[in-house]
Amino acid sequence: MSAITHDTHGHHDAHDHHDHHEETFISKYIFSQDHKMIGKQFLITAVFMGLVAMLLSLLFRIQLAWPGESSDFLSLFLGETWAPGGILKENMYLGLVTIHGTIMVFFLLTGGLSGTFSNLLIPLQLGARDMASGFLNMVSYWLFAVSSVIMLVSLFIETGPAMAGWTIYPPLSALPQAVEGSGLGMTLWLVSMTLFIAGSLIGSLNYIVTVLNLRTKGMSMTRMPLTIWAFFVTAILGVLSFPVLLSAAVLLMMDRLAGTSFYLSDIIVGGEMLENHGGSPLLYQHLFWFLGHPEVYIVLLPALGLSSEIISTNARKPIFGYRAMIGSILAIGFLSFIVWGHHMFVTGMNPFLGSVFVFTTLLIAIPSAVKVFNYLTTLWRGSIVFTPAMLFAIGLVSTFITGGVTGIILADSALDIAVHDTYFVVAHFHIVMGMSAVFGMFAGVYHWFPKMYGRMMNTRLGYAHFWVTIVGAYGVFFPMHFVGLAGAPRRYYDYSVYNEFDTNTYEMMLDLNVIITVFAIIAAIGQIIFLFNFFYSIYRGPVAVQNPWKSNTLEWTTPVEHVHGNWPGALPVVHRWPYDYSKPGAEEDYILQTVPLAEGEEEH
């Protein structure tokens, strides 16, 4: 702590002499310890990984819509090895699905949301000079970067990437004899995830310490913006659950390399009788989902936090039920640890245990409903400004509802039996987790771009991007419900098997799959608008003003030009909560948190 203050003092002196702080290219852009730069590094890495994962999804979507037809697109990207004659290989299909899921969940949504915005906003919105430990923060990013590279490398090896689905259930993931991707590809997957987890842990610990210790004067916990509450609870979830995934991965590694039997029992594979006895594949599933479910909220809570801030700012109204929002974030965070079993209703887990998880899972619907109604009431009688960020935040609320309600079906074990592992599930989690989180991320990028780069993104292109994205993404995932209700299992290379027993259903699936793929291509092309806008605006966008959205929070009191230590003078002092928008009696429709209460003014 003293080191940080010392550092910033040194900087001030330099600043006073109009002499710029000397930073080399390497210390500024590569091994930076400045939270703003690290946030940007996370963002760009995650966006790149997201593009790769989106491309992978296009490749397998083409196979699903036009099974067995030769495609130039496939042969261009996969070559003769994985798509001989432009037709995707069965094994590579599984590899694409696996890596698509892994990258999207961990690298885009965890790294891109929590990594980017926790780094950018925690110090800025709390009035801190930087993270508690700038060095650990840097380490956290570089572990993330290295793990990204390893994950990408696994796509290019001879035996192909991991092919056991993103959940990598053993024994499939433990036995190279069962599928070739479980050889080197799986090893690289495990190494990559191990580094990812280490990075994520270091980052999360840093976020927690910063939130607890480095709040500026007057910034009590109940005056923190909801973004910070969301990041804070997300970090706690990460600290408590990621180590469990690591333990699952380490045990799997030992089963693969050291001949232990944690997950393996009584197996004959590839003509070889294995000696392993007494292990349980269900143990892995329990360990995996103990992370896997909180992971959903690690992805979702930051998106909800960002949208709370954006909706409040652009509706020019305080967020409705601030304390209820905090309460629901905490409730969701707590409940997310005791619901993992709902992924395992039909795995052979004791049915009584299943009923306990039904109960806890459906409880989560209550705080989620509270959040939705609070968003709706925030919009009610607002004075809404539709910036691109606001549109994406509204899109998020819509997808959170649409994907959330189908969760009620899946959480009900009796109903889950018939739709478990079908496209109904794929539709559910892509809408509630994928779309919501991506919308939250886009909203965050549009809203805080001026803070990140000191320039504005183009609004009109932002509108175009939003409309293509919401139509495209709903067009992809909404019809999937119907594919799933028709009984289509997920992770099928094609549905030709239906031809042998139900031709009508086969036709229906094929029809819907074509529609889905066409929308996927549209949505993917729509992202080019964003990429163009993003990179163009970094260099050529109009220079931003200090507080472009007329927002209350502290980050908008910092100068547009980034300075090390965030505020050139003394740290700001906070006098009120962050949601005094359109307060009666005030001149403007916003009051910065640094403005002291007027005489006789009530806090809220």
Binding site: D72, L76, L94, A164, P171, L172, L175, A178, S265, I267, I268, V269, M273, S280, A315, R316, K317, Y322, V346, T347, S355, L362, L363, V372, F373, L376, T377, L379, G382, S383, I384, V385, T387, L391, I394, S398, V405, D412, A414, L415, T422, T459, I470, Y474, F482, L485, A486, G487, Y492, D494, Y495, V497, E500, F501, D502, T503, N504, F532, S582, H604
Partner: protein
Amino acid sequence: MSFKLITIIVIVLGVLAVSQLVRLYELSSKLRNRREEDVTNRDNKLNANLLLAFMIFFYAGFIYLMTEYGWTGRGDAASIHGETTDWLLNLNFIIIIAVFFLTNTLLFGFAWKYVRKPGVKAYFYPHDNKLELIWTVVPAIVLAVIIILGLKTWNGITGDSAKEAIRIELFSKQFDWTARYSGEDNVLGKYDYKLTTAENELALLTEATLDSAIRYMEFGKADSTVLGIKLLENKLNNPKNIFIPEDRIKMETDLDRKTRLLRLLYQMKARHNAKLDASAYDDILQKDTLHLLKGKEYEISFRAKDVIHSAYFPHLRSQINTVPGQVTRLKVTPTISTKEMRVRKNNPNFNYVLMCNKICGSAHYKMKMIVVIDSPQQYNAWLKSKTTFKDDYLKPVAVATDSTVVASAVVDSTKLGM
């Protein structure tokens, strides 16, 4: 190649065109003194209207999909518990579709209605305890109903089956299913994975299968594609043989493994109670097609040989994973015969099916078994055509056509003698 070149040129030109347009737009904004963060009333109104239009388009798409594909594309449930879960599913769908329409309408409706209007200030409304209590308690009550109904159904489905339920077993491996009927005694014979041989794929446990597994471990396959312990020892101990180190290590590991497995087999043999053989010998094995009797309750247990699979009967609304090293189970009572379902579905070629629904390797998508739900006459006719495990196993293969059968016939001849 020229196609790719043209694509690249079009993309480059496209990007250039867009950047020029953006430049133009920025210059005009500058001229009109409009900043990027100032959203004009026209833009604001346009987006508000688009949100409403999107909502209508979205609902229309939903209703179209519903009318076109329905909400159970699998058709009517063909089992007793399936009828209950379909009823519950419909109830839940009504609730969630109502919530979906209500909240989405409020969302897009508010967004449209409360777009910024000149001179209208937002209403400062930070909280209201009564409202918040309402939308905590109302969802809680609805969820309580859903939970109670759901758990009641779940307990019924997963509870014990009746004593007289017909016991069968489904054995899964990459990438097919094998059914085992318990035969006349309605008891499934015991098994142990170490007893697996080419003639005893399901690893059933009897005196004879034990002996043959031991022999197999000791002597390997007759055609030397799999080496037994004896041959491995001979090879490794013969000073004339020179191996590259990798091969030697591989053979030594193989030998060690087989020696340990053999020891376990001998232990098993020492403890074996031959009285239990009968329950295995009357079992009936069946590949490709699973025959079930309409109106009978079945207690099905599941095994997996290699990796996790999932037994998914979409029309019976049944599903359970099959797990290596662990037995899973479910109970089901089919209610509609295949013939009746063909009429209902208006498709003379329709069949019930058992699919694999847990990723299990490259041909996962092809791993299925046709399920036929018979009337008693059809079922008995099919049953008459079947032979028991005893018939299949203890009778040496008379006509050998391909090499693997020749090899196994050699092992077979030793089985009876021991």
